[in-house]
């Protein structure tokens, strides 16, 4: 009888019983930010599920503010309407997920994206696009988000967001 190789033995189901059972990661902080009114409603529904490591925020809809008087203080808000400092929030996060609806104006992604770039925080943008959304509308949203998202996802149903957050241990 030949002896089993190390790889054969190690990959067996019986050896799996001896794998270390301690947690192998620490919780990460995920900020989920709605970029438009439709996605704000989605984020509010999502927040009701009771997440351990995710917090849910709202960015002002429309064109991003310009000019010297713009301040990131109080630019964001939480779901209760309390204003928050964007850079502080980004600073406390490991991942920022921006939620947008296809066809809406998502230019505010540039403000969040720049802050994430400054703080070296990973960004994901998720565009909700029902199958009936015209290609041009989806393209416009994507082109606004693309420069600011290191991962861009187009999903047809909002339940994907919950699955994604679960997968990311939110």
């Amino acid at each position: 009888m030949t002896m089993q190789s190390e790889s054969a033995r190690a990959a067996s189901a019986s050896e799996a019983l001896f794998r270390i059972d301690d947690p192998n990661s620490r919780p990460r902080a995920i900020k989920v930010i709605a970029l438009d009114r439709e996605s704000e409603a989605v984020v509010k529904r999502l927040a009701r599920s009771g997440w351990t490591n995710a917090s849910f925020l709202i960015a002002p809809a429309g064109d991003p503010p310009r000019g010297e008087r713009f301040s990131m203080n109080g630019w964001l808000s939480d779901l209760a309407g309390q204003t928050l400092d964007l850079v502080d929030e980004i600073d406390k996060s490991d991942l920022v997920v921006m939620i947008a609806t296809a066809g809406s104006n998502t230019e505010t992604a540039s403000i969040i994206g720049e802050a994430c770039s400054l703080k070296r925080v990973m960004t994901t943008a998720l565009v909700l696009a029902e199958p009936t959304v015209p290609d041009a509308a989806l393209s416009r949203s994507l082109s606004q988000l693309r420069p600011w998202a290191l991962m861009l996802v187009v999903a047809s149903a909002e339940d994907y967001i919950a699955d994604m957050l679960t997968a990311l241990r939110a």
């Binding site: 190789s5 067996s12 189901a13 192998n24 990973m122 991962m151 861009l152 994604m164 990311l168």
Partner: protein, 429 residues
């Protein structure tokens, strides 16, 4: 991370399981046509979706895929005599036709009609593109025949191989839609493998090891775009196709053939990795076919007489630490296919997904699981009997590699390139 019950739902494919029902909605590859080369040739054992079956080609060339065991005393019909339009059990001479119908029970009077009462479970088996395909679902719901382009082009333009992978199908398939590992695990092969080297785009891969991803749902599954810096401010896009439940097609390189995979469960701890290479507009060259037979590209060398890779877990995948140290291979394992398989098998027969820590670049994998779970649930609830990927329109797809200006979304700019256009080459860089 997946909850345990979600993982179980996706990884168990035996009879009566939800994911098994999903797989049983499709035509799936069962054997290479070359495994049954002649009428009345020896039968071949086939295990698929946790069912033990036997394939044979009868005297008239009809293909049968039937229960492996004789209904009389449970003998394996692999020992049977394939002769005169049927397979005869060597124990007591019971004989079965290609549909599994018993046509002779020598010990019983013919007039009794006893043999008509004996029928083994069987599935249709058809030949297309050098592959024998089966459909293991309810007879009344048989879908249209498969129309994957690799199985539709003339025989000289396509090459298919298969290998046993000693892991669950899902962890193998997830490797096929995980574009970010290429710049690490396979970096040694991009400039050396005869089926990869020479493409202009290889340098984009090697220069930019942090691609940016876009994941878009398609009618049949997903499009996964990986974007890297190209020249002159443009982006190099590699677009992978995933069609449910387990077809993947990797973006091509240069004028090399384009390739992809099917991952088909043998049982819950083993799967068949099917690997195809084809060119839509030209015959494969003798050098290309030789390279594929020699285990280059996505193919493997075999243990002689089997479909088991020569480098396998029983020989530690012939790992070469010197090659790893010298940078000739990143993991020390030779060849793209076994670099993937060695790591996927090392996870264990069924990886424990409750322990994984996915990151946002894993959204392709997360979305694929989401779509599989959503479809399985819809089937369990009776809301659909036809999952994505059954419709032949979903099968008429191509992967693509393109260079685009930064303001052009790949789903628009590469729309034509992502569908089959007969007589037109694939989009490649």
């Amino acid at each position: 991370m997946l909850r345990k019950e979600q993982g179980d739902l996706l990884t168990r494919t035996g009879p009566g399981t939800p994911a098994g029902t999903l797989f049983r909605s499709y035509w799936i590859p069962a054997l290479l046509a070359s495994e049954l080369p002649d009428n009345d040739c020896p039968p071949v054992r086939v295990k698929l979706l946790s069912e033990r079956l036997l394939a044979f080609r009868d005297s008239k060339g009809r293909l049968g895929l039937i229960d492996e065991f004789c209904a009389h005393r449970g003998v394996s019909l692999w020992f049977g005599r394939n002769e005169e339009d049927g397979l005869r059990c060597p124990y007591h001479g019971w004989k079965y036709d290609y549909t599994g119908q018993c046509i002779e029970v020598p010990s019983e009077p013919v007039e009794s009609g006893f043999c008509k009462k004996i029928k083994l479970k069987s599935y249709p088996l058809i030949e297309r593109g050098g592959v024998l395909w089966t459909y293991m679902g309810p007879a009344g719901q048989q879908p249209p025949l498969p129309e994957w382009e690799f199985a539709q082009v003339p025989p000289g333009q396509t090459f298919t191989s298969k290998r046993i992978q000693e892991s669950n199908w899902l962890q193998a398939m997830e490797g096929g839609i995980d574009s970010s590992h290429v710049s690490f695990l396979h970096r040694g092969e991009l400039n050396t493998d005869p089926l990869f080297r020479g493409a202009r785009a290889n340098q984009y891969n090697l220069r930019d090891s942090r691609p940016v991803f876009e994941v878009v749902e398609s009618a049949g599954g997903l499009l996964i775009g990986a974007r890297r810096e190209a020249d002159d401010g443009n982006y190099y896009w590699r677009i992978t196709q995933w069609v449910m439940p387990s077809f993947t097609m990797i973006a091509p390189r240069g004028n090399h053939p384009v390739h992809g995979h099917f991952w088909i469960p043998i049982d819950d701890e083993n799967c068949w990795t099917w690997s195809f290479d084809y060119h839509p507009t030209r015959a494969l060259t003798a050098e290309e076919v030789k390279a594929m037979r020699d285990g280059k590209g996505i193919h493997v060398k075999y243990v002689p007489g089997t479909f088991r890779p020569l480098a396998n877990k029983d020989n530690d995948y012939l790992i070469d630490r010197e090659a790893q140290k010298a940078g000739r291979t990143f993991s020390g394992v030779e060849g793209i296919a076994m670099q993937d398989a060695s790591l996927q098998e090392s996870m264990g027969p069924i990886v424990d997904r409750t322990k994984e820590n996915l990151v946002s670049t894993d959204n392709g994998i997360i979305m694929a699981r989401h779509r599989l779970l959503r479809t399985i649930k819809a089937m369990m609830d009776g809301k659909t009997a036809t999952p994505p990927g059954v419709d032949v329109e979903h099968q008429r797809v191509r992967s693509a590699a393109v260079v685009l200006p930064p303001d052009k979304p790949f789903i628009d700019a590469a729309k034509e390139a992502l569908t089959v256009r007969a007589g037109t080459a694939h989009a490649s860089v």
